[in-house]
Structures are given as structure tokens and as C-alpha cells.
Symmetry: C2
Subunit: 192 residues, 2 copies
DNA sequence: TCGATACTGTACAATGTGTTCGATAGAAAC
DNA sequence: GTTTCTATCGAACACATTGTACAGTATCGA
């Protein structure tokens, strides 16, 4: 029920279901959408849905894991200088992300990807600590706080009709978090 | 259906229902608990439940709003010097809070109380800004980030069997957040 | 004691979920 | 072009949960 990628019909069905979910999410909260709604909108049989996905959440995750991953890759301070690309990416698909924020879908996706996100940030942080020096604070906790703050900022930004530019949001994040991280981990500040 | 406080029977029923919810939350995730489970455990008729509460969430909120409020009052940096009392309070009722964190109930309560929490923090922050000076950053965003970080730390602490003392957690929070707040709002640092 | 009201227990309709299965249409393989 | 897969359909099914209704009973407060 999952090695169904090759067949053109499967691709079609998956596309229809994803599209229906997105369309519905723009109209109403994610958690109020039923599987019945989705298959009605997609014009797909009930059993067909279950041939592809376990449940509604599986559909959401399957379709947005890649989106979230690209979001991390854009924004991860470990590989990129800042969060501006992160916010630009969100801005370019604001309808989708607004829908995700409104309906609580973003929290679900965050939970699913948290391990990934956190690992990424933790690696970044550990690279900042001089070798041999024991961390002055739990690095995983700091990483969680960073990821959480990023999410909070993202939500606030979308909820308030994006009143600041991606560059300003990036600046805000750095001003708010970096001094504390430097102090907590007892490291020397990196590049601005 | 709500002015039912005086009658001893009502108090009894409410007590039974709250107790059943808490007991069940210790055993299994909040979101997996059904109303049927609750009334079975409480030994209360189905219609009686609906005579008191609208749904499961209403029961949760009704019973824990006071708990959460006291939590804020303990921890609010606006009225208290630090978060140590906050973490001590959680520690003293760790079973309950662990259950809330595990089952996702804490997120629900957080959403319900967020307006209250945020207002409290915002007031505190605004008091730090010299009169007449326009804030250098959106104060409500900073407040949200602070509240979010407090919640993140709370979850981490409980998920990791509380490896640090309440005083250390307080210290960590201040070291992590205060420098950034001072920098972002362009204010002078307050008492340690 | 008596009137008010909270509780019980059951039945009920409505909704959503996930599964099953034979028939059909469409894809891929040759 | 024929054959062989296989994805889809559609309907039926069992099941769980929710929220409401109502008549009888128990308990409360005065």
C-alpha cells in the first residue's frame, strides 16, 4: 500500500488528495476537516484514500514533510547565515502557511519534525563550543528554545499580516536570542 | 446549567469528574481519554456530565484555569523576582504536570490562558521601557517569545525528570532571555 | 415535610472511522 | 494489440463517540 509510486493513477490520486487538503485548509481549520470532506473534494473513493494513507495526519505529514525540511534548510543557522531566507520562503507561500498556522496544522508538523529541527540546531550550537570545554548549559534545551522561538515568531508574523520584512524578522531573532545563547553557553560571539 | 454551585450534589459530581480526569490523565494521554471513560471512572451518568460541562475540554479548562493562573502568579516576572517559585510549584505537583505535558493537555491550557499570560508579561515589559520612548521592537512579540520559552523549559524539565533545581532553571531562563530582551527593547538591565 | 432540582439510565440520532469485496477501468508489459 | 496486473470505485459493514431527550428516582435546602 505504499510502493505505489510508479503508476500514473496513483500519482493522480495522491495529487488530488493533497490538493483537496490544501484547498480545504485555506477555507477552514485543519482539525475541523474530515476525511469525508477530503475525498468529496478530491472526488476519490473512500477505500482509495486508505490505500494511500493511514489517516488524515499521515496525509498532512506525507505532503508537508518536504516543505518543512526545505524550510529548515533555508533557515537553519547551522548552514545559512540567517533566517531571512526562511521568512522569505514563508512569504512566498503565505496562503499555505497561514492556513497551517490558523488550523493548528503547523503545530502538528512541528512536533513531527522537531527531532530533525533540534538535531540540526544542536549540531550548530555544538560547533560553537570550543573543543574539550563542557557545555555550561544543556545544549538540547537551548536548541529547543531556539526552535520554539522561531516557530513563535513565524506564527506571530503570519497572524499579524507580516508587518516586518524578512530581514527585520531575522534581525529581531538574532538580537533576541544570540546574546542569551552566548552568555548561557559561555562562548564568544560569532559573525553578526 | 452553570449556577449549580451551592448544591452539595453538584459539588460532589464536579469533584468526581475532575478527579476522574486527573486519574485518567496519569494513566493515558489526555487526547485518548473519552467522555465515556471519564463518566465510567467517576461513576456518573452521561447526562449528568453534560449538565455540568460542554465537553471534555470544558472540563479540563474549568478545573485547571485556576491552577494555571496560580502558576502565572507564581512565575510572572512582572510581580515576582524570578521563576524559581514557578518551578517549585510545578515540582510540588509534578505528577499532574507530567500528565499534562505527556498528553498534550498543557498546550491546550496554554492556548486558553495565552491572552492572560501575554498581557501579564507585556505589562511587565512595558514598565521597563522609559516613558515617551517608542519600543524598539514589537512588545507583544517579545512577550509571546518569553511565554513560549517558559513553556518549552517547563516541558523539557518535566520530560527529563527535572535534572536541575528550580533555582538553576530560573538562572537559565534569565541568562538565556534577559540579554536579548535588553538589547531588543534597548533598555537598561534591571536587577539580576 | 415539601417543593425544587440534581442524578440515573436508557434510548436515540447523527457523525465519523476504518475495513471489506466484487466489479470495472485503466495502466504497464509483452 | 493482447494480456496481465492493479488502482479505483462504490456500497455495505461494524464500530466508536458524541450530544440530546425524557421519565423516574434520590437527595437537597428551607
Amino acid at each position: 500500500m505504499r510502493n505505489t509510486k510508479a503508476d500514473r493513477r496513483s500519482q493522480r490520486t495522491r495529487g488530488l488528495l493533497s490538493g483537496a487538503l490544501v484547498a480545504l485548509m485555506v477555507e477552514q481549520r485543519y482539525d475541523e476537516i474530515t476525511i469525508q470532506d477530503i475525498i468529496n473534494r478530491a472526488n476519490v473513493g473512500r477505500s482509495t484514500f486508505y490505500a494511500h494513507y493511514l489517516d488524515k495526519e499521515d496525509l498532512l505529514v506525507s505532503n508537508f514533510t518536504r516543505t518543512i525540511d526545505s524550510l529548515i534548510d533555508h533557515g537553519d543557522p547551522g548552514t545559512r547565515p540567517g533566517l531571512a531566507p526562511f521568512f522569505r520562503h514563508v512569504q512566498s507561500q503565505q496562503q499555505l502557511y497561514k492556513a497551517l498556522v490558523r488550523g493548528g496544522g503547523i503545530d502538528l508538523l512541528y512536533k513531527k519534525s522537531q527531532a530533525h529541527i533540534q538535531r540540526s540546531i544542536k549540531t550548530y550550537l555544538e560547533a560553537l563550543i570550543p573543543a574539550g570545554q563542557p557545555p555550561a548549559a544543556p545544549v538540547d534545551l537551548i536548541a529547543e528554545c531556539m526552535a520554539g522561538t522561531m516557530l513563535t515568531m513565524l506564527k506571530w508574523w503570519l497572524d499579524h499580516e507580516m508587518p516586518r520584512s524578512p530581514e527585520e524578522m531575522d534581525r529581531l531573532f538574532h538580537d533576541l536570542m544570540l546574546p542569551g545563547i552566548v552568555a548561557t553557553l559561555q562562548i564568544t560571539p560569532g559573525p553578526p
